[in-house]
């Protein structure tokens, strides 16, 4: 679905990305693994064309349509949604407001207080938001300010918000970092059941082997090895460079 060809990204003299060809979103859950600094997050940011991450050369297309040079918010609108690694809540809005902001597809305007109130947005998508809130067990916290949530709850909020964007392909950048116990189960259940392709960056090998169908191994900015879970798991190079004995 997302095709990257000959993509290169430099930060000064440092080669951060050097990808010959990669197709993302062709399997249900795809994992990206690799040591720190391998370029896993940079890959996602390059696809989304976040400020300083615009690629220096190469082609990125989504279903044949070019993505290079497009604005991040437009790419997100197309259904290429990312739940970023850093916890990113809007601290002054409540959990509910955070979610309704994401679910509202109609651009906000100055005339909103009169022509399109929050109640109207709520009416339109109440069912969907409540469902998602329930799924991530955020419903008890719905009136809680974003900044008052615990770290795992913020991660859940991140993912819930991404889900409400109606993703066609969802990038989860370490969604399980710092998430334990019940929240971890919720998140893993969601990843397995999601009705759209997910690209998962994760450091925990167990999660990768249990949830992914296909794995990319990255090092020094490029995809070294890719294949099905079992193939990558047994690959000598991956074991030597990353997994250890």
């Amino acid at each position: 679905m997302i095709l990257m060809e000959g993509v290169k990204k430099f930060f000064g003299g440092l080669k951060a990305l050097d990808i010959d060809r990669i197709e993302l979103g062709t399997h249900h859950v795809e994992g990206i693994i690799g040591p720190n600094g391998a370029g896993k997050s940079t890959l996602i940011k390059a696809i989304l064309n976040v400020d300083e991450y615009e690629v220096n050369s190469g082609k990125i297309t989504y279903q044949g349509k070019n993505l290079v040079g497009k604005k991040t918010w437009k790419i997100a609108r197309q259904g290429i949604v990312c739940s970023p690694q850093a916890i990113q809540e809007i601290p002054s809005l409540t959990v509910e407001e955070n979610l309704y902001l994401a679910v509202n597809k109609i651009p906000e305007k100055l005339t909103d207080p009169f022509l399109r109130t929050s109640e109207m947005v709520k009416k339109e998508s109440e069912k969907k938001v409540e469902e998602v809130m329930h799924m991530f067990s955020l419903d008890k916290k719905c009136d809680c300010a974003g900044c008052d949530l615990s770290t795992p709850e913020k991660r859940l909020l991140n993912t819930a918000r991404a889900l409400l964007m109606n993703p066609k392909i969802l990038f989860l950048d370490e969604p399980l970092a710092g998430v334990r116990g019940k929240e971890r189960e919720v998140m893993q259940k969601f990843i397995k059941k999601a009705p759209f392709p997910i690209v998962l960056i994760e450091h925990s090998p167990d999660v990768i082997w249990n949830t992914c169908d296909y794995v990319f191994f990255m090092m020094a900015g490029s995809i070294k090895i890719h294949g099905t879970v079992n193939a990558v798991r047994k690959n000598k190079e991956v074991i030597k460079q990353y997994l250890g004995v």
């Binding site: 989304l48 991040t72 918010w73 601290p91 100055l110 399109r116």
Partner: protein
Amino acid sequence: MIDYIIYAITIACVYAIMGIMLHLQFGLCGVLNFGTAGYFAIGAYSVAILTTLMGYPFIVSVLVGAILCAIVGFLIGKPLSHLSPDFLFIVTLAFGEIVRQLATSEAWLTNGVAGIYPISNPLKFLPFYDIAYLFIVALICGALIFYSIKVRASPFGKLLIGVRDNPLISEYIGKDVAKARLTIFIFGSMIIGVAGSLYAPLLGMVNPAQFGPLVAFVAFISLMVGGKESPFGSILGSIILVFGIIYIFDFLPIPIIQDYKLVFSSVRFVVFGAILILFLRFRPKGLLKGAAL
């Protein structure tokens, strides 16, 4: 005395309009607009030039002023709306000064430092025209307060808060951050221009000295003291600063203060600065903390 009180309240309402716009721009969206005095001047000069020198009706000149401010706001905001608001701060500060310098140097249009006078009150034909004028200004001010209360609860207000708190995630969830900043910047600039237009007939004259950077500084200090996230913040802040400090220094029957009035009139800016620092240190959100979540 009554006349003076009416005049003071009308001026207060004009500044309140400006304060509400700064609340929307800076308090909600984090867009720093230090060119306040510039837009204020454009509005005031539009009225002065078009009514006094050219004889157009007041309403027309207010509209022209507002449109001019919107255009200028677009020209300044468009290239900067993608960047962090710090850049906007520098550019708008410079813009305010440029407008003042232009008003000083382009004497063929603005009559230079002497300014333009008299600007007659557009309601002069009415018996109690100053009260009627106050009524209109207060009505506009009230409408804007109403709007700013409503906007916080609307999807647009939430977007503004999202853009202020976390522009990156706002992009990630498909929001046009630059457009939100630009919209509120242009809207605010336009209304501040209208405030300037309403201000001109009150004083009856305009000259460049009225629109120094101090206008923006005092407005921002009021906003920070009163509470930048509350629609009433800047109003409370101005009452405290203007009435509480300027007037206390002017009218307080303490002999020392009265003897050294001139000295104390300069000291009050030191007091403003000290108050600002104290607030930023001990109560950064200001007195009114904004609508409850």
